[in-house]
Symmetry: C4
Subunit: 260 residues, 4 copies
Amino acid sequence: MRFLLLALMFFSCGTSTTFAQQRPASAGPADPKLIEDLIAANRILAMEGVVDGMGHVSVRHNRDPNRYLLSLARAPELVTAEDLMEYDLDSNPVRDPGRRQYSERIIHGEIYKLRPDVIAVVHNHSPSVIPFTVSNVPLRAIAHSGGFIAEGLPVFEIRDAGGLTDMLVNNAALGRALAQKLGGKSAILMRGHGAAVVGKSLPYVVGRSIYLELGAKLQAQAIALGGTVNYLDPEEGRKIEARRDYIRSWELWKRKAMGQ
Amino acid sequence: MRFLLLALMFFSCGTSTTFAQQRPASAGPADPKLIEDLIAANRILAMEGVVDGMGHVSVRHNRDPNRYLLSLARAPELVTAEDLMEYDLDSNPVRDPGRRQYSERIIHGEIYKLRPDVIAVVHNHSPSVIPFTVSNVPLRAIAHSGGFIAEGLPVFEIRDAGGLTDMLVNNAALGRALAQKLGGKSAILMRGHGAAVVGKSLPYVVGRSIYLELGAKLQAQAIALGGTVNYLDPEEGRKIEARRDYIRSWELWKRKAMGQ
Amino acid sequence: MRFLLLALMFFSCGTSTTFAQQRPASAGPADPKLIEDLIAANRILAMEGVVDGMGHVSVRHNRDPNRYLLSLARAPELVTAEDLMEYDLDSNPVRDPGRRQYSERIIHGEIYKLRPDVIAVVHNHSPSVIPFTVSNVPLRAIAHSGGFIAEGLPVFEIRDAGGLTDMLVNNAALGRALAQKLGGKSAILMRGHGAAVVGKSLPYVVGRSIYLELGAKLQAQAIALGGTVNYLDPEEGRKIEARRDYIRSWELWKRKAMGQ
Amino acid sequence: MRFLLLALMFFSCGTSTTFAQQRPASAGPADPKLIEDLIAANRILAMEGVVDGMGHVSVRHNRDPNRYLLSLARAPELVTAEDLMEYDLDSNPVRDPGRRQYSERIIHGEIYKLRPDVIAVVHNHSPSVIPFTVSNVPLRAIAHSGGFIAEGLPVFEIRDAGGLTDMLVNNAALGRALAQKLGGKSAILMRGHGAAVVGKSLPYVVGRSIYLELGAKLQAQAIALGGTVNYLDPEEGRKIEARRDYIRSWELWKRKAMGQ
């Protein structure tokens, strides 16, 4: 009887342990300020028209660079703290694997693996950017607000990595190919799809996403005038970005998006 | 006197019966959830700029595939449950024939007749789509959000079916011609007018309407860049649509449109 | 003393009488429903982006076709019943001549003189229409919502009537020239300036103003696609307008603009 | 002990005095109406899309033409009276030098130095204007609302003044070069950056900023039609501006921006 009880305890523990071993361990509770900013980032991107019902934004866990935080599958505008999940860099959730998840979360994980400098990632279907993902006219910077564009942004052609697909970057091979193509840049365009934007903080990825959208719109307008276009010199872009922060805009965006 | 009273009762009953016989029978009360979603669909289409004061959306009755639900003639943004009417597939109302009705409701009825797979229909004057209805440049898909466009959408030229008209599809012959031209596709463009969009549920027709509008805008922008455009491969479109749902967006749209 | 008092009374009365004789007589209080609709028309035009701080809308007095109602010089979005003034067809106010008035009210008066069928007039700087006022590419109808455009709308070149001016139609000669150029049409474009739109009621001028703006936008988009454009046949335009009303849209516009 | 106390008092006073001597003297409290209008100007520019998180607007101090008022570094939409700082024309603050300040405030100071007629200055990244700053197609006036554009606006190429920079006009030499290039005009375009707009009051700089943005949009649309464009004659522009005021629009803008 005693043996049976022990065996039972072992078995149930073992079961838990097995599940725990299959699932990555949590890095523990994240900084409440980071959580708050991640919620704000979701809503700002919606407010600014960079995402609609689709798209997502993540941030590395402040306690462990091998974990990142991302909402379950929900429109960014609706995301709350209860929706946030913790993932390892293979994009496995540390808990609640049964919740509906973004099928393209692998974009975040694979970029975090290859880019230790990256702290936050946005994936979006930025409407003014998409035309540049399918055109042989490359996206270039015409305004200092998009200085990071001046370095030249790569375009990910999913056909090169996966042939004729459903266009989703939803497995490790595609995610890795995307991350490799991104290289050391600030953003990558995705053909017929959108973009992935990276940065050293949430204000950076949000700011870059907003000014990538704007930059694409401005360039299209400049082209439509029919004359020659005087693009930013890459050196101008470097100097702009060397002193860039998004402090002033972040205050505005966050207050508006959070209704304060 | 007694006879007269009976005769009077008979006559009045007879009159009612006659009216009831002339009018199609009701399938009974529809699922409240369906009603709620139809109201939401009306408001979402307005909120997203796919319809203005004009345009309409219908859904098949959940109790009878030969009946559909559609508002009386009212701007979609204002539609409430009290405005909903039940129609047979000849687009005759089961009651209240004196209420002001959409003159183009025949679009819905004729499509439901030819397309048993279709559960919901939208007719709109989608502003970015209209230019493609009058241009010899065909609408094509450049983004995965408009995967259903990749199959190629037909254009209905009302002059072929009716000569020089007031452009309204407001009789059975025109409605049938439109439904036939639609064939098995997800949507049909209407020259100088707008579009009709079909799907297997209200979220599908709403989602397709929104992404048809967006897809047209994106393609126009891509063309305006002046370079070559890399369109979606039809196979990509098929794979995208095979796994498409609008669950995440529908949650967002409905909550916003219903002010929740 | 008594004489002096009488003389004084006579003089003061005389002064009033003199003023009253110089000023046109009022047709009396207008229909409250008309007042309400004129306020609504002002706000709808602002809500729909057809006017900004400038532009104005008038309606003929329901008691006298030789009087019309128009706000004092105020942004349409802010107009209230207290701002409405009554004018004769020479655009002289029946009272309060010292209030700040629209310098271009003559547009309304001169059109009412030449067009007995016209009951309401809008003058606006409709942003999508202005490019067509300065281009040799004429505005034409591509969509049934702008059926009245299919008849071909004249363009008023103020240089023909007044040489190099401040572009304002602010005297009787210019107003008359504009009204003559309008002829029997539904609207006239004003070079480098905007448009004047006429109709048989406030819903008509508001509806035409909104769909003139939209029609211009749609045509520009169709042209930008780079292919041929299939314009509305004038006969289609006539048939569309023969059965046009703005009942459904007016209900929407008015409820939204008046916050109901 | 007494000596020590006195010495301490002297030292602390001396420190204050020293700081006060290094800092310019204040002209005293500004007119509350001017403060109110400066707050309104900030919010109007944001409401009208002329500025986003960046950009700024200043006004000369009503008591001293050698002082101007400008917010500390904050998004215009959020600016309150507490944020306003007083600067001399070298753009040194009269107090609180430790607060975060706009790095490009020098634009305001240098323009005020060279243009005694200028009472207010806006610096913005006006989205429709930027394409004209990088195109060899010059901005020209097509509509009377942008009459001040008809005189021809200069473009500041920062490379001429500073070579390859971070594009910011953030030192006296660049500010002076910009102000000189502006000359006697109403606005100057800044290549790859935005514009600086000047005027004789806050309503003028706000109005010109709004109609500069609109004018650029309208011209781009006119060009896109593909035909010839009939621009405003400079004489028309002069006559328009000779009688221009922004009274009616200012009432609208201010009431909306201040939520009244």
